[in-house]
């Protein structure tokens, strides 16, 4: 089963829930798709790491062949090409690697080269296979790295946990595309609810079955529960705020591995998810 863990708002506990579910499953695959800030490995501490560089294609212009016709500059919809003096110049940060400039060039002056944008690191943490996508700093789009990280997960009966980026934009869409079930982690605050509604809209748009985990539960704020109830989103677990959990989290410990009560809590959550997802 492929399980995507997402949240809309950042810092609600996606990585906390993801690594604990992987640990509770015993044998599992954990994929960190939050490629801008991948933190799962801080908790899982994988060993025997193998890292692969992820490249995208970028155009190179042969100044001998280029006649300065500007067809490529006119074609580029991302304003990545500017005509300087007599030749096109590339602003690589905004290039989407669509290959259009190469297609339209009448003189065959455009070829493509590989440009690194991040890496995917694979390793083992006990029986958990840990795949981490990490985008290079200064890059704008994590999508190529997310795709490469997801490609490292073979189809398996084992649990595959996909730890998603925050928000509800293209990177989240890419991360949950192949998921069988989406787990929405939310905190019961006005900010948490507002962003929860946004990711709920996103998973509904993709017709993904979903359930909620309410983290730092137990305050007076009931609007999040009300929303779940109204929209038929099952609340599979409420995790009360505890200083012990906060302390474990701050020091990079996995609760399900250091405390039998939490191990049981996440095993039972996993059982509920499997039942809800019918896998």
């Amino acid at each position: 089963m492929k399980l995507a863990v997402l949240s809309g708002k950042g810092g609600t506990g996606k990585t906390f829930v993801s690594v604990n579910l992987a640990a509770a499953a015993g044998s599992a695959i954990y994929i960190d798709c939050d490629v801008e800030e991948p933190n799962g490995r801080i908790f899982l501490r994988p060993e025997n790491l193998i890292s692969k560089t992820i490249n995208i294609k970028q155009p190179v212009f042969d100044s001998e062949k280029c006649t300065g016709c500007r067809k490529c500059v006119a074609f580029c919809r991302f304003n990545a090409l500017v005509y300087v003096k007599t030749k096109p110049m590339l602003f690589s940060e905004v290039c989407h690697s669509c290959g259009g400039c190469r297609l339209v060039c009448p003189s065959g002056a455009v070829s493509e080269t590989e440009k690194p944008v991040g890496n995917v690191e694979c390793g083992k943490s006990g029986d958990i296979r840990v795949v981490t996508g990490c985008m290079d700093l200064g890059e704008a789009s994590g999508i190529p790295v997310i795709r490469a990280a997801l490609a490292e997960a073979p189809d398996t009966d084992d649990l595959t946990v996909i730890d998603c980026p925050p928000g509800s934009a293209c990177s989240v869409m890419e991360s949950i595309q192949a998921a069988d079930y989406c787990l929405l982690v939310a905190e019961p605050t006005a900010f948490g609810l507002h962003n929860f509604k946004m990711v709920y809209e996103l998973v509904s748009l993709l017709h993904k079955p979903c359930g909620a985990v309410i983290n730092k539960a137990g305050g007076k704020y009931t609007e999040l529960d009300d929303f779940c109830c109204e929209h038929g989103v099952p609340v599979l677990l409420r995790i009360p705020y505890s200083e012990k959990l906060a302390r474990l989290g701050a020091s990079g410990q996995i609760a399900a591995l250091s405390d039998s009560e939490y191990a049981e809590m996440f095993r039972s959550l996993l059982g509920d998810i499997r039942r809800e997802a019918h896998v």
């Binding site: 708002k9 933190n39 919809r77 925050p166 934009a169 507002h194 906060a246 020091s251």
Partner: protein, 290 residues
């Protein structure tokens, strides 16, 4: 107009809580929410008017006319975004995967492809005695960086005489963050005292450095882990990053948010700490002006 941007790298460290408190403590006349993926500042900004709203067109999307398409698949072969699928002999575009590059339109031998404007979000502008610019990106859309740039432009145009603008940013280090950093005078990183928090703070500080933006750090909920708070302060000292102060964990912070206003309206220890941080930030901004 001086611009102060609040970022964090890691999500949920308290960017919006800090930004909202600064806005009230400063009586800021101009502010913006650049977290277009998951905007929240409007929930606590206390604007009394309804906003002006308009559609944001991020890019175009390809549309294949099923009447003209012969299913030759040339578009599919040339699309780099896996946005074209062939179904029942006809090509179709997945609007979420399409980045609007126009390659399919160019290669189609049947001229079956047209590029259509796509509404990829909505911009909102609130104006009373203050100006607040914000936006929401449509589900699953890209182009968040371009929208962030529009939000900032709208703010500057609507409040050209304002001296200091407070801008709430988004988590991460990618597209919307890079767009939000461009042209600001100072970036305040709200860090969280945890291993993940420190890791993400380092990444966002390096990103700010690559973009040559001046950055400073404060720690939120510092008392949640004293050891990591000290690690953050040490990191700042060693890397010559101005450290602006610590904010204690305060239950009144989430209570204030849930009531729809900022911490600045509550007399508490977190407010005092934030006022002090603001004083340090203003000194830093003045230092730059000299």
């Amino acid at each position: 107009m001086k611009k102060l941007l609040i970022l964090s790298g890691k999500g949920g460290t308290g960017k919006t809580t800090v930004a909202a408190a600064f806005i009230d403590l400063l009586n800021a006349e101009a502010f913006a929410d650049c977290d277009v993926d998951a905007p929240n500042l409007h929930l606590v900004a206390g604007m009394n008017t309804l906003p002006e709203r308009w559609d944001y067109y991020g890019s175009q999307k390809a549309f294949i006319d099923p009447e003209k398409c012969i299913g030759c698949g040339v578009c599919l072969d040339n699309c780099r975004f896996e946005a074209v699928t062939l179904r029942d002999g006809i090509c179709e575009v997945n609007e979420y995967a399409c980045e609007g590059c126009g390659v399919c339109e160019y290669v189609c031998p049947q001229s079956a492809v047209t590029m259509r404007d796509d509404v990829s979000g909505e911009q909102l502008l609130y104006k009373d005695s203050r100006v607040f610019s914000t936006a929401t990106l449509k589900m699953g859309r890209g182009n968040s960086g371009k929208l962030v740039t529009e939000v900032k432009k709208t703010l500057v145009n609507a409040a050209p005489d304002s001296k200091l603008a407070v801008i709430d940013g988004s988590p991460g280090v990618g597209c919307p963050v890079i767009a939000s950093i461009s042209g600001v005078d100072l970036v305040l990183i709200v860090a969280e005292p945890s291993l993940s928090g420190i890791h993400d703070m380092e990444r966002i500080l390096k990103t700010a450095d690559i973009l040559r933006a001046k950055a400073a750090v404060c720690v939120n909920k510092y008392d949640a882990c004293m050891e990591k708070t000290k690690d953050i302060e040490k990191y700042c000292q060693e890397n010559k990053v101005p450290f602006m102060g610590r904010v204690p964990f305060d239950k009144q912070a989430s209570a204030a948010v849930n009531e729809g206003h900022s911490l600045a309206l509550v007399d508490c220890s977190a407010r005092a700490a934030l006022a002090n941080i603001l004083k340090n930030l203003r000194l830093l901004l003045l230092e730059d002006a000299k």
